[in-house]
Subunit: 264 residues, 2 copies
């Protein structure tokens, strides 16, 4: 099986043009099949404010009402996605920008309304929601998919979907055809033993260690769903999951010392 690198970048780098360009140069240079998944960024909030759209949250999760869906469709699916694609093209990487609606690549379900109505938020049901055939077709044509954090419900509506979830769903679905390496880039150099010390990166975490780190409170709230996603992906055939700083992506992808490696 051929190798496939799936790399997720978040808002922290999307908001910094110089760092983003450096990351995209690195990404463009990786040989072989690859997929980029990007999150949002402060620009959506900035444009939302200018449009007079008031952000709504429930326990830290954004509520996507109709006007917020239009906003993220514009900013994530349009502005950020197309600017990243145009930059990758200039770096000789044949990128194609996608939402889950495009070529029906990711089908999701609108989150059911229980105590809270999250609005147009999409949950990806499972591996079968990923159009493996089309993605394999694109990769075979030498094209690099670049995903915005949007999916669709198959009934004509786009849905706002967590980029980490998209990355892990793509990874597990494509594990049947590729040796998938999934890398999450975020604002830290890896999972830290001491959150106040950037040099305290834990280089390797297996499942037993993960339980230990949760029990001792070393792994904090925001990190838990990220690692849960990662171990779920490993459990479903993904070869390796790595977490680290976008500035160190070359070393991470090359299997060097940077970042945190997760294995079962």
């Amino acid at each position: 099986m051929k190798e496939l690198n799936i790399i997720k970048i978040g808002g922290n780098i999307l908001d910094k043009p110089t760092q983003l360009h450096r990351f995209l140069s690195d990404f463009a240079s990786f040989p072989g099949a690859k997929i980029l998944v990007h999150g949002g960024g402060k620009i959506a909030s900035t444009i939302g404010q200018r449009l007079g759209i008031i952000p709504k949250y429930h326990e830290g999760r954004r509520i996507t009402d109709s006007e917020t869906l239009d906003l993220v469709t514009m900013v994530y699916g349009g502005l950020i996605n197309k600017q990243v694609v145009a930059q990758l093209q200039a770096l000789s990487c044949n990128a194609i920008g996608l939402t889950g609606a495009d070529a029906n690549t990711i089908l999701a379900s609108k989150r059911p309304v229980r105590e809270v109505d999250y609005g147009f938020a999409g949950d990806v049901a499972g591996n079968r929601s990923i159009n493996v055939e089309v993605l394999h077709g694109l990769l075979t044509l030498g094209i690099t998919p670049v995903f915005a954090p949007l999916t669709h419900d198959g009934d004509g509506s786009l849905l706002n979907t967590n980029a980490d979830t998209i990355a892990s769903m793509l990874a597990t679905a494509l594990a049947s055809l590729y040796q998938v390496k999934l890398t999450y880039c975020f604002e830290k150099k890896g999972v830290l033993q001491d959150p106040t010390d950037d040099t305290s990166v834990i280089s390797h975490i297996n499942q037993a260690r993960f339980i230990e780190l949760k029990d001792t409170g070393v792994v904090s709230e925001g990190m838990i769903p990220k690692l849960d996603n990662a171990f779920a992906a490993l459990g479903q055939g993904v070869k390796a999951v790595q977490i680290g700083d976008a500035a160190e992506i070359n070393d991470i992808v090359a299997g060097g010392k940077a970042g945190t490696l997760l294995t079962l």
Copy 2:
């Protein structure tokens, strides 16, 4: 050679949800290879106003400064394009939304600054600017490209590009591989003998008749570049060009009586 329908729709229909949905239902039902190209629409002006972006024009042509480029990237490449794609998916048409940057499908040049600086406006240089190989690859996978009126310069910048031009450039470039039928939908039922009489559709115009219609002033200013584009496409191997009302697209595509047929 297989048949390929390339259909362009403009702002007049994009701004009307019910009519747009009816058109997309018709479009989804056409068998075989097809490509949709869409223009802008009033929504870009509305959102631009809300963002405080002041539209700038020179002799009716929009000047695309940096913030206007961001606006059209959001609205054309994000909002309109992705909503059309999601609707087509619900109609069982496997659409993929594209700008010219995506998979390097359309390379353009920033319009040179002479008396006027049109900003980030892109001119498509010729057939060789269209990535025929990738488009053929997508069509072969059963995917329907949906183009927003945006291209790229290959140096990392998106460019605002006329949707009529994109449609005719795609048509001529793909004429080497397909029997291409190019259809322009607009606000009239076809080219009218009497602009005040909607029933005076001229059913057929050849090149000689076109010259005559220009000389007698029947074909007016806005129509001339559209027909010039159409005859240029016919001269380069496009099988048929038709102009008509999106509401009559079924009849037009079936080769019925609706609309105006252009031949050499």
